[in-house]
């Protein structure tokens, strides 16, 4: 099918309606894109407006003058949260990926009897509504003195294990079993095979897993408010909700805050979109 692009336009095999259908498609898509991006338009336009120009009546108008003032006002309120989230999300995503890699490797390449059942049991953890473990979680963490960023990181690591395990298990399933055989015959046991053969091969999976987990940890709110008790330890989503949550806050500040808080994950999305997509698809279990 891709060969069609190389054929000169007038020689292509097409049905009579083809040109019209394609135009229709593009039109429809364009319309949908415009509708879809309305919220983005509003966000960008409002956040970049000079505060004096902000009013309900002028909401949809483009800014006459671009101004970063709103960002400057809002940033101090988000700063601590931003730093907290960073300190928490980066280690959490890395650690949970390493553990997921080990799990995925064992469950796909070192099939002990019951490996599939174990995997199903782990996988189930991905789907539980977190409400059903909140009460025990709060108890345990406050008893252990972990109602801080360390506790939050731990929570993200543990509840991130199912998806990272899934990502790596799927990835390792696609590499040849003979590679593992060769490694064993060469003299490496499971651990060394994992370290020297499996991990170097799985670098793409690491990218997917770390990016996905980072996004999840950064965007999480529920664990943020349950686990962390002190305001100084709040992640950025909680800070965002507090700054922009009440109806009293001027809406342009709320928009600017939402934009700021979303920058890291959006950056990751724009730069590493391919890996993000794969993480997204992994969750669908390819049934």
């Amino acid at each position: 099918m891709s060969a069609r692009v190389d054929v000169p336009r007038d020689l292509r095999i097409r049905s009579r309606w083809a040109p019209h259908v394609t135009t229709l498609r593009y039109l429809a898509l364009f319309a949908l894109v415009c509708l879809f991006l309305i919220p983005v338009y509003v966000l960008v336009v409002t956040a970049l407006k000079d505060p004096s120009q902000v009013s309900p009546r002028q909401m949809w108008n483009l800014p006459d003058v671009l101004s970063l003032d709103t960002f400057r006002t809002v940033w101090p309120k988000l700063e601590t949260g931003f730093r907290n989230s960073l300190v928490m999300a980066v280690p959490a995503s890395i650690i949970s990926s390493v553990l997921g890699a080990a799990n995925g490797f064992v469950l796909s390449k070192w099939r002990f009897p019951g490996a599939d059942i174990v995997f199903a049991l782990i996988l189930f953890g991905m789907f539980i509504p977190y409400q059903s473990i909140l009460i025990p979680l709060r108890q345990v963490l406050s008893d252990a003195g972990l109602t801080n960023l360390t506790g939050l990181a731990l929570v993200h690591i543990i509840y991130g294990l199912p998806i990272t395990t899934l990502i790596f298990r799927s990835y390792f399933a696609s590499i040849s079993d003979e590679l593992i055989d060769a490694s064993q015959v060469d003299g490496a046991g499971m651990l060394r095979t994992f370290a020297y053969v499996a991990v170097p091969i799985a670098l793409p999976a690491f990218a997917v897993s770390i990016i996905w987990q980072f996004t999840q940890a950064w965007n999480d709110f529920l664990f943020g408010i349950v686990v962390v008790t002190r305001a100084t330890h709040w992640p950025v989503t909680v800070a965002l909700n507090n700054t922009a949550g009440s109806q009293v806050v001027p809406y342009h500040e709320a928009m600017a805050a939402a934009a700021l808080a979303s920058i890291p994950t959006l950056l990751v999305y724009v730069l590493m979109g391919r890996f993000f997509m794969r993480g997204l698809m992994a969750g669908a279990l390819k049934g």
């Binding site: 003979e178 590679l179 055989d181 064993q184 015959v185 003299g187 490496a188 046991g189 020297y196 170097p200």
Partner: protein, 384 residues
């Protein structure tokens, strides 16, 4: 390193779902020998190889490397080296590191490692490629690296799992000869698995023929060719395959179609009167020269001219031999798998010298020597 022998004693392997892959195999491989395991797909040859390597656990029996019972040892402790069908080179390691991996796992010193890798790379002509990754190599180069990885280890045993089947036909023929040469130089006990009987015959000092997990015959290629112990081995070994037809032995000769051939002198069937399956290899015929040999008439309908050989194909007016053994030998599940156009009669292939005057549709008289006849029991397939 002194070569060691391998002994398989009553080895049985049963997979989940009660699939019997290997059934009570007893095999003794001499130190330094090049033994080929051959058979149609699913016959258990790869499983047997993996059992020797330790990648499969036996369901019964014992495995000995030299005097040591290694039956319960993990692959990393057996000191065998294996070359896989897909080569299984570590994608993220350079050729040098691929080859040195086994030594590294055995904690060999870096200088010693490098020395050995360089030496083997020289033997196999891989010096220029040492810093490349497998992805940047051609199929043939990868194959050599896989071999190099095994050789560097200086193991007790080499195990090769269809290492040539991914190469194209001409390359395969050259590589075969190279492998033989290598074996002569290194003298390591080698077990080689293939489904291609031509490869088996050319490479093996001895060949073990397997069918459905059961060892049929272990012998030198010549003996397998000349004295197969059953119908399966006779049909499997030799290309083009042996011609079979149903016949009857009576009064000291064998009859099939309208052909009568006296039994060879001293034949065990001398006084019998029974049905048999007759087998004659394509090379067992010649053009009739009137020198007293029994003859048969044939009207070839297909003539193949290969440049230095000529093959003719013709029908014989007798029932075709279609048994499980003959089907298994060509890896077919049913009669329909063999023939494009259904046919009840036996079909013969005969090889003739290239300048024999023969054309499709024209009758030709062939001579066959009684010594070249094989006889098999129609029920059991055993040689008579």
């Amino acid at each position: 390193m002194e070569p060691v022998g391998i002994r398989l004693q009553g080895v049985t392997k049963r997979f989940k779902g009660h699939v019997l892959a290997v059934d009570n195999v007893n095999l003794e491989i001499e130190p330094g020998e090049f033994m080929v395991l051959v058979g149609p797909s699913g016959c258990g040859k790869s499983t047997l190889l993996r059992v020797i390597a330790g990648l499969e656990e036996v369901s019964g029996g014992r495995v000995y490397l030299g005097d040591e019972d290694v039956t319960t040892k993990l692959p990393q402790h057996r000191d065998v080296a294996m070359v896989f069908q897909s080569y299984a080179l570590y994608p993220r390691m350079s050729v040098r590191r691929n080859m040195g991996f086994g030594l590294r796992m055995r904690r060999t010193e870096k200088t010693e490692r490098d020395r050995r890798v360089d030496e083997v790379a020289h033997i196999l002509g891989l010096e220029r490629l040492l810093d490349r990754r497998p992805g940047a190599l051609s199929g043939g180069q990868r194959q050599r690296v896989a071999m190099g990885r095994a050789i560097v280890r200086e193991p007790k045993v080499f195990l090769l799992d269809e290492p040539l089947s991914n190469l194209d036909a001409k390359l395969r023929v050259t590589m075969r000869a190279q492998l033989s040469l290598l074996h002569q130089r290194l003298g390591v006990t080698t077990v080689y698995v293939t489904h291609d009987q031509v490869e088996a015959m050319t490479l093996g000092q001895r060949v073990a023929v397997l069918r459905d997990g059961v060892l049929q015959q272990v012998d030198t290629p010549t003996n397998l060719f000349r004295h197969p112990v059953n119908l399966f081995v006779a049909a499997f070994i030799g290309s083009p395959s042996m011609n079979f037809v149903q016949g009857r032995v009576a009064n000291g000769s064998v009859n099939f179609a309208d052909v009568t051939i006296p039994l060879p002198a001293g034949s065990a069937l001398a006084g019998s009167d029974r049905q048999v399956v007759v087998g004659i290899r394509p090379t067992g015929f010649s053009t009739a020269t009137g020198d007293g040999l029994p003859t048969m008439k044939a009207v070839p309908d297909v003539v193949e001219d290969l440049g230095d050989e000529r093959y003719i194909h013709f029908d014989v007016d007798a029932p075709r031999v279609d048994t499980e053994a003959t089907r298994a030998a060509v890896d077919a599940k049913s009669a329909e798998d063999i023939l494009l156009l259904p046919e009840d009669r036996a079909r013969f292939t005969v090889r003739l010298p290239v300048d024999t005057p023969v054309t499709a549709g024209q009758p030709v008289t062939l001579a066959v020597s009684p010594d070249r006849l094989h006889f098999f029991d129609p029920e059991s397939g055993a040689t008579l």
